[in-house]
């Protein structure tokens, strides 16, 4: 289980996220909507533990342990994995090396790496420097390939469908479902997901039951993600924000 309580986060001394509360039970996938600058990526980066994102109040618990002040790699080894929206190019580090590192295998089994590459349609990319010259879709598939090797219990996905053409989006969806155990009976499903999406295309593939709209650095409302997406498509985020503001207690 992931439990975020009263979380506030500052970047460069400026508070970006305020009082966020969110709980993801084992086997659940949740979706984050929100306009640009709402704090969605900041929330994911904070959960992953990037030091630039300073927790000023509140806590993050994962699998019953307070991870608020753990390092990125400690969280990764506990079972948190992230697909980045714009991951950096690391020259000289081959994609194969990254997958091998994710497998945490002493043998760095080539057969398993090749199998994952085939699954992600990236066989020709294993010997290339990670993310170097990759298209948008190739980056997303590479991120998911690494996560499939990493096998995280909590997967954080930052706009997994952005820059992906309609043909490849189905493959992205399949890879995500592998990660999130969609084909596993609900009672046996343990993997959790938290997905940022703008287009909502990915909702056609994943089994998400809970959605949030973030605005102004906090969660404005919670509900069924499909209904939320329909509302956002129909009325835009302005309506969401107005609705949220209307529900805020009046200040003195």
């Amino acid at each position: 289980m992931l439990k975020i309580k009263d979380l506030s986060v500052a970047v460069g001394g400026k508070e970006i996220i305020h009082d966020v509360n969110l709980t993801i039970q084992n086997g659940e996938t949740h979706v984050l909507f929100g306009p640009n600058g709402a704090g969605k990526s900041t929330l994911l980066m904070t959960i992953m533990g990037f030091p630039k994102y300073q927790v000023t109040r509140g806590s993050i618990h994962f699998k019953g342990k307070d991870i608020t002040h753990l390092s990125i790699d400690e969280r990764a080894r506990m079972g948190i994995g992230m697909s980045f929206q714009r991951p950096p190019v690391v020259r000289g580090v081959k994609t194969r090396d990254m997958v091998a590192a994710c497998l945490k295998s002493e043998t760095e089994d080539d057969a398993e790496i090749n199998q994952l590459a085939e699954r992600a349609d990236l066989e020709d990319f294993l010997e290339r420097d990670i993310n170097y010259g990759f298209s948008g879709g190739e980056i997303k598939r590479s991120e998911l390939m690494q996560l499939l090797a990493q096998k995280p219990e909590l997967t954080l996905l930052d706009e997994p469908e952005s820059g992906v053409d309609l043909v490849n989006i189905a493959l992205i969806g399949e890879l995500m479902n592998d990660l999130l155990e969609k084909n596993c009976p609900i009672q046996e499903r343990r993997c959790m997901g938290l997905i940022i999406t703008h287009t909502g295309h990915i909702l056609d593939y994943v089994n998400a039951r809970t959605g949030y709209v973030m605005c102004g650095g906090t969660i404005g409302c919670t509900g069924d993600p499909h209904e939320m997406l329909a509302t956002i498509r129909e009325k835009g985020y302005d309506e969401c924000i107005q609705c949220y503001l209307g529900r805020l207690p009046l200040s003195d």
Binding site: P51, D73, A76, F84, P88, V90, G92
Partner: protein, 409 residues
């Protein structure tokens, strides 16, 4: 001609240049070093050399216990050639003195690529006792395994003078690994090495030089290459152990049509080291090509990484890449890429970058479960990853110098 093979005119030039400071690098006081050393006995079986020397040579890529993967071997200790042998037809490996006695045409190659009066170091190699290797691939002959050569500095305060001649005759293929190392860890030593390469029509030469000196050694190699029509010269240079002072700036002249020169350099240094290392290529042949790639890492010492390409012929093409990485708070890297074109229709380019490891990249790898140190090591190894051909297994795929973080197990 003198008995050394040098023409009287060149000898005079050397005398005139005996005190001429080099254009680059710290000036070294030659009077602090002793030019003479004892004559050492010839060793027909190099595996019988002292084990400490063999271990030291192995760090520089020279394998003496199992020469089955080598087509020839040359060992010079101080100023004495102690072994030379070949194990493949079509290749000649011998001390330059022997080659002088054997071939009267040696004068055609002696000080013809490197000017004898380039500076006081070249002049000194001419004026004082010297030896060096002669390696030649006969026309059309292709070596399967590399020839290995070791220049070993054993005596304290010695000035080791070396003059090498390498000839790849037309259509031949030659691979050479030269390891330079020293037995003296703390005492000063000076290595002056002149190397002249002649790559004939359609010949291909891979030259890998590994320097494993000590923090007290000063080094001044002086190399030049002449590449004829369709010839290829590929140089790989690795320096991954401390050295006090190193300055070199080898020059390749692509004189022939379609000639190609490539230089890869990997420099890793720490506090107390001063490196000034470059590569120069002059493209005089129509359609000639070059690529210069340099990777420099410092954890405290200073590195000047130079590159120079000059295009003087139609359709010539060159690219220069200097990248430097500063690890820690100290250390200086200065990248100096230079391009010169003298006519239209040439294509020369360069890229240079100096910086520290991007924290964004480290954190990206950490998000996959690597610790900060493991992520840093992976990025450094990746930075140094230059595709180098012909390396022995002990060095191939390894960039674990004394300053490098350990590879993730």
């Amino acid at each position: 001609m003198t008995e050394t093979g040098t023409s009287p005119a060149d000898r005079d030039k050397a005398r005139a240049a005996a005190a001429k400071k080099a254009a680059l690098g710290e000036d070294i006081d030659l009077s602090r070093y002793d030019a003479s050393s004892d004559e050492l006995p010839y060793q027909a079986d190099p595996s019988k050399l002292p084990s400490q020397a063999k271990e030291q040579m192995l760090t520089a890529g020279v394998m003496l216990d199992d020469p089955s993967q080598r087509s020839g071997t040359y060992i010079q200790m101080d100023n004495t050639p102690v072994h030379s042998s070949v194990s493949q037809d079509g290749v000649e490996v011998m001390p330059v003195g022997q080659a002088m006695a054997k071939y009267d045409w040696m004068a055609d190659y002696w000080w013809r690529a490197v000017p004898v009066d380039q500076d006081k170091y070249t002049a000194n190699v001419e004026l004082n006792q010297y030896s060096g290797y002669f390696i030649r691939a006969l026309p059309g002959q292709k070596t399967l395994f590399p020839v290995q050569a070791c220049l070993y500095l054993a005596k304290d305060k010695l000035m080791q003078n070396v003059h090498n001649i390498i000839i790849a005759e037309a259509g031949s293929e030659l691979h050479i690994i030269t390891g330079c190392t020293t037995a003296t860890a703390d005492e000063p030593g000076l290595h002056l090495g002149v190397s002249e390469f002649y790559i004939k029509k359609g010949a291909r030469v891979t030259f890998t030089m590994i320097h494993a000196w000590s923090p007290a050694t000063a080094v001044r190699p002086r190399s030049a290459v002449v590449i004829e029509d369709g010839g290829l010269f590929l140089s790989n240079y690795l320096l991954m152990k401390p050295v006090k002072s190193l300055q070199m700036n080898p020059l390749a002249r692509c004189t022939g049509e379609g000639a190609t020169a490539r230089f890869n350099s990997v420099l890793v240094t720490g506090a107390g080291s001063s490196l000034d290392v470059g590569s120069r290529v002059i493209l005089d042949g129509k359609g000639s090509r070059t690529e210069i790639v340099s990777r420099a890492i410092t954890t405290g010492g200073s590195i000047v990484a130079r590159g120079y390409i000059e295009g003087n012929a139609p359709d010539c093409k060159g690219h220069l890449e200097c990248r430097g990485l500063i690890l820690g708070d100290k250390g200086v890297i200065q990248a100096i890429p230079e391009l010169k074109g003298t006519l239209a229709g040439i294509d020369l380019s360069h890229e240079a970058a100096v910086g520290k490891i991007a924290e964004e990249e480290v954190e990206y790898l950490m998000a996959r479960g690597l610790t900060h140190d493991q992520a840093t090591a992976a990025i450094v190894r990746g930075f140094l990853r230059v595709d180098i051909e012909g390396l022995p297994p002990i060095l191939a795929g390894s960039s674990s110098g004394p300053w490098m973080p350990a590879k993730k197990k």
